[in-house]
């Protein structure tokens, strides 16, 4: 058996190297696929070695950033987090991460107290929950996303609720501002830490078009919102049955928002308020920071350490990371669904810079993007009217993206030129960079597989690290 085990782990490790050499995209899931198929009992040994427990982060938006923020905090609290790579968030992606951190005997190599900190695909959470028996589960939010793959928001919330009640983690960390998630807490048998926003300069008083939680999860009556922060996240109440947003344990206030690059957040952390300057803007990043802080709360991390961790965190590629091409700035923001796209647009419009915004929007429709691109018609593009300069659309559905902008009358009107349509991403990027002037910013908004393509293109030019190292 000993030899067998070595050869399985060896095969998995070798596969990863081979895949990387052959540029098969880092081979992030391949080793896990091998281990998943051959030796399930590895998982039990690994979970025992992770004495700090396992944390799973799931939800539609914010998984990657929440994991990165939490990792910075836990690292400074004396833990050694083991995390999966961005997007490799099915069970095999998690196993791959564990293979990578193991020696040839399949034992984890850890310098400190190990903690598994994994992002999990929202559709896969029920399956992964049963296999990994996590200590903490974090639920960030649920928005309509890839309806062809995940189904409807409420069905997903019901599936989560069922499996979380059946196999409960020790602690459930939940966004109190998302009614579909707050309702899950109702019959949860163990500890709950709720996080939420108390105020933000971005707050609105009504729901945007693509909101997914208009009805009370308890009585089906229409919910009424006093404040809306982001999509359907906010302070809600059901006038019919009286159910309302629960009071969060970890509460945040957006004090100042300075465009893409920073956000001041005041956080109430067990009666101990503190203020932190995040190196990324946007309401959704305030939520990510609150989720990470709520995990820190579950681990009894001191305030000082939470603050340090959040302050030094760096965004992943495609999550508002800024790349300089000489004197031209490129800011890439992943767009996956109407909720995230609307927020990206709001963020770009409030970036604190004068002048029209230059956009390169890349719309793909592969399985991992969602094959159904109808969702771009749910995004509120009208707010870009009169605010754009250069507009290039790219990707497999470049034409549909351009069409969407035409019908929002953002491009192709009497006083704006038509968009440039270039399905090839490399060429589209070159065209866009050539057309903008020094000192200007190009906002690149790719869907998921387009982001991977883009990262490959930039890595080849030595401008960013490949995604399996980022």
């Amino acid at each position: 058996m000993g030899l067998n085990r070595i050869s399985v782990i060896g095969a998995a490790k070798a596969l990863r190297e081979t895949a990387r050499l052959l540029r098969l995209g880092g081979g992030t899931a391949l080793p896990g696929l091998v281990v998943e198929a051959v030796v399930p009992e590895y998982l039990d040994e690994w979970t025992q070695q992770l004495t700090g427990g396992i944390i799973l982060v799931s939800g539609t938006n914010g998984k990657t950033t929440t994991v990165r923020m939490t990792a910075e905090i836990l690292l400074r609290a004396g833990y050694e987090p083991v995390s999966n790579r961005t997007g490799s968030n099915l069970l095999r992606g998690i196993l791959s991460a564990l293979v990578e951190r193991s020696d040839w005997h399949g034992r984890l190599v850890l310098g400190a107290r190990g903690v598994g900190l994994f992002e999990v695909d929202e559709g896969t959470l029920p399956q992964v929950l049963g296999r990994l028996r996590p200590h903490v589960v974090v639920l960030t939010n649920l928005f309509r996303d890839q309806l062809d793959r995940y189904g409807e928001v409420e069905a997903l919330a019901r599936a989560w609720r069922r499996v979380l009640t059946e196999t409960p983690p020790e602690v459930l960390v939940v966004n109190a501002d998302d009614p579909n998630l707050a309702a899950i807490v109702d019959d949860f048998p163990k500890d709950v830490v709720l996080f939420g926003l108390e105020s933000s300069p971005f707050a609105r008083d009504s729901l945007p078009h693509a909101a997914d939680a208009r009805f009370c999860p308890r009585c089906n009556g229409p919910l009424s919102y006093a404040v809306v922060y982001y999509s359907h996240l906010g302070k809600y109440r059901c006038p019919d049955c009286g159910w309302e947003r629960p009071v969060p344990d970890v509460a945040g206030e957006v004090v100042r928002a300075q465009g893409i690059e920073s956000l001041s957040l005041a956080i109430q952390y067990g009666g101990e308020p503190f203020e932190v300057e995040l190196p990324v803007g946007g309401t959704y990043n305030a939520y990510n920071a609150l989720a990470a802080t709520a995990v820190a709360w579950a681990y009894r991390v001191p305030t000082r350490v939470v603050r340090q961790g959040l302050g030094v965190f760096q965004p992943a590629f495609g999550r508002q990371q800024v790349i300089n091409f000489g004197r031209r700035r490129v800011v890439t923001i992943l767009v996956k669904n109407p909720a995230g796209f609307n927020e990206a647009i709001n963020l770009i419009l409030s970036d604190g810079r004068d002048g029209p915004k230059n956009l390169l929007i890349i719309l793909n429709d592969r399985v991992n993007d969602g094959r159904d691109i109808s969702w771009v018609w749910d995004v509120d593009f009208d707010v870009l009217q009169g605010r754009v300069g250069l507009v290039v659309t790219s990707g497999l559905r470049a034409a549909e993206m351009a069409l969407r902008l035409k019908y929002a009358e953002v491009v192709g009107t009497a006083d704006t030129p038509g968009p440039i349509i270039e399905p090839d991403i490399r060429r589209a990027l070159d065209i866009a960079l050539e057309k903008i002037r020094p000192g200007e910013t190009l906002y690149v908004l790719p869907t998921y597989t387009a982001l991977l393509d883009l990262q490959r293109i930039l890595a080849r030019r030595g401008l960013t690290r490949p995604y399996w190292e980022a």
Partner: protein
């Protein structure tokens, strides 16, 4: 000239970006100097069959379908039937299409009664059967329509129903008989949900033309520059062919 669009259940049946259809009709009319008024028609709200020239009904979450079905049959049923009989243009996608048939039999629970405007019924074959999901290409009046379908229910047309078109790629009504959608007078039912009209400008203009013809007798539509629309149409056909 002016057209009045009734946008049914904008809060409940808005899951698959059906707003794209409303945006498309509105812009294509306004670009031609035709005024458009879009009026939401909500749950529990009655309407007058003479109030609108075009009615748009879309797809919703499963939970909403029962609520909407009750409302559609009990509150709006009579007016909707009268509107269809008088030639009002109706575009009903996905869940709404199913409700315009005789009934919808869900995988679990009781049969949901429909309006019977189309001689058709829909049965969900149970959770074991895969949903019909993917890009779809349909032949309609010698041209193609492109869209995306995502439905569990299978619709069977009766002898009194005319299909909207023939499936070229995809599933359509039931994945068996090659039919897609249904037409009765100027009412169109289809599984092509969401943003169907923008990338099928010929179909969008057909609906506008029918509505104008009914209201103003003499209706000619000025041509628009549809290069972008047709590029999106072609891209959708290519993606449907690629099948990945």
């Amino acid at each position: 000239m002016e057209l009045r669009i009734g946008y049914f259940y904008p809060d409940e049946l808005n899951l698959y970006a059906d707003r794209g259809n409303v945006i498309c009709l509105t812009r294509r009319c306004r670009w031609r100097g035709i005024d458009v008024r879009v009026v939401p028609v909500e749950l529990r709200e009655q309407f007058d069959p003479d109030e609108f020239d075009i009615l748009i009904l879309g797809g919703g979450q499963d939970r909403d379908q029962r609520v909407v079905a009750d409302d559609l049959v009990e509150v709006k049923g009579e007016a909707l039937r009268a509107a269809v009989e008088s030639g009002v243009v109706v575009l009903a996608a996905c869940a709404a299409y199913q409700l315009l048939g005789h009934y919808y039999q869900p995988a679990e629970g009781d049969r949901i009664r429909g309006l019977g405007i189309f001689d058709a019924y829909t049965v969900h074959p149970g959770p074991a059967e895969p949903r019909c999901i993917g890009n779809i290409v349909v032949e309609w009046q010698g041209r193609t329509l492109v869209g995306f379908e995502n439905h569990g229910g299978r619709t069977v047309l009766g002898p009194g129903a005319t299909p909207l078109g023939r499936v070229v790629i995809g599933f359509g009504n039931n994945g068996q008989d090659g039919t897609e959608g249904a037409v009765y007078k100027s009412a169109f039912g289809t599984y092509m949900h969401g943003s169907l009209l923008p990338k099928n400008p010929h179909f969008a203009d057909h609906l506008i033309w029918l509505a104008l013809k009914r209201r103003y007798t003499d209706a000619t539509l000025a041509p628009l520059d549809d290069r972008l629309e047709l590029a999106a149409h072609q891209a959708a056909i290519q993606r449907a062919r690629a099948g990945d």
